[in-house]
């Protein structure tokens, strides 16, 4: 289960995601990120309160990143917790995503 918050900071639309991005929550995560990408030129997914992610959650993030690329939207992932960072690293997400230690804004 995830909870999503949205705010604007220094020109970035920041989507904060809290909870567990597992197979049950993946559709909700993808919808939230895609909606943000549809409506804003710079989108940051802020994952400091994300406790868990599986390949289904990663796919949701990748789908949003693809949509951003198609639309010419800047898309970044920020503030990963240590265990979530490990899953991103094992999956080679740094090859295809901009991953920041902190918010880019």
């Amino acid at each position: 289960m995830i909870q999503v918050t949205e705010e604007t900071r220094a020109g970035w639309h920041v989507v904060g995601v809290k909870g567990r991005a597992d197979s049950e929550a993946a559709d909700e995560l993808e919808a939230a990120l895609r909606a943000a990408v549809d409506g804003h030129p710079k989108v940051a997914a802020e994952f400091s309160a994300l406790d868990y992610i599986s390949s289904a959650g990663l796919r949701a993030v990748l789908q949003a990143a693809r949509a951003a690329e198609t639309r010419g939207v800047e898309f970044a992932v920020c503030s990963l917790s240590a265990p979530v960072r490990k899953v991103f690293d094992m999956s080679g997400m740094h090859h295809v995503l901009r991953i920041h230690g902190e918010l880019p804004c």
């Binding site: 390949s55 289904a56 990143a65 265990p83 999956s91 090859h95 295809v96």
Partner: protein, 142 residues
């Protein structure tokens, strides 16, 4: 050797039960947050693979898993009644492929292989049977 076994129906809603019971096992045996996280991840990947590839969706008792731990690590045995599939020999995904070419599948099995050791597969009596270990490094007590 402390053991735990759970049967799962072919429904994604079972994921919550799988997660709750795995957490209970890990905390009972003080396995630490890293081990708990890894077991959640590996079990979710195994179970969702069974649901999507094994024609198991909707049926009862389609998968079972068993956890047992000793001082050196946790042994996970997982079985499903789906079509024969050996994840130990599945090709690795191209992680460096550009975003638009990156394949949607294969990531779950890749993660399992990164985390677990001694990954073994057997097809037995209509079941895919997997066995693997999550080592617990001795120098990092939790």
């Amino acid at each position: 050797m402390p053991q735990f076994r759970l049967l799962l129906n072919g429904n994604l809603k079972e994921l919550a039960r799988l997660t709750t019971e795995t957490t209970r096992f890990c905390r009972q045996h003080s396995l630490g947050d890293d081990v708990e996280f890894d077991l959640h991840l590996v079990l979710e990947e195994l179970f969702t693979n069974s649901l999507s590839h094994g024609a198991c969706r909707g049926a009862e008792d389609i998968a079972e898993f068993q956890l047992s731990n000793d001082p050196d690590g946790v042994t996970l045995e997982y079985a499903d009644r789906g079509a024969p599939f050996d994840p130990t020999t599945a090709p690795a995904p191209d992680l460096a492929a550009p975003l638009r070419d990156r394949p949607a599948g294969g990531l779950g099995i890749h993660l399992i292989r990164q985390i677990m050791r001694d990954f073994e597969y057997q097809r037995l009596d209509g079941w895919n049977r997997l066995r693997m270990r999550r080592p617990i490094p001795a120098e990092k007590p939790k």
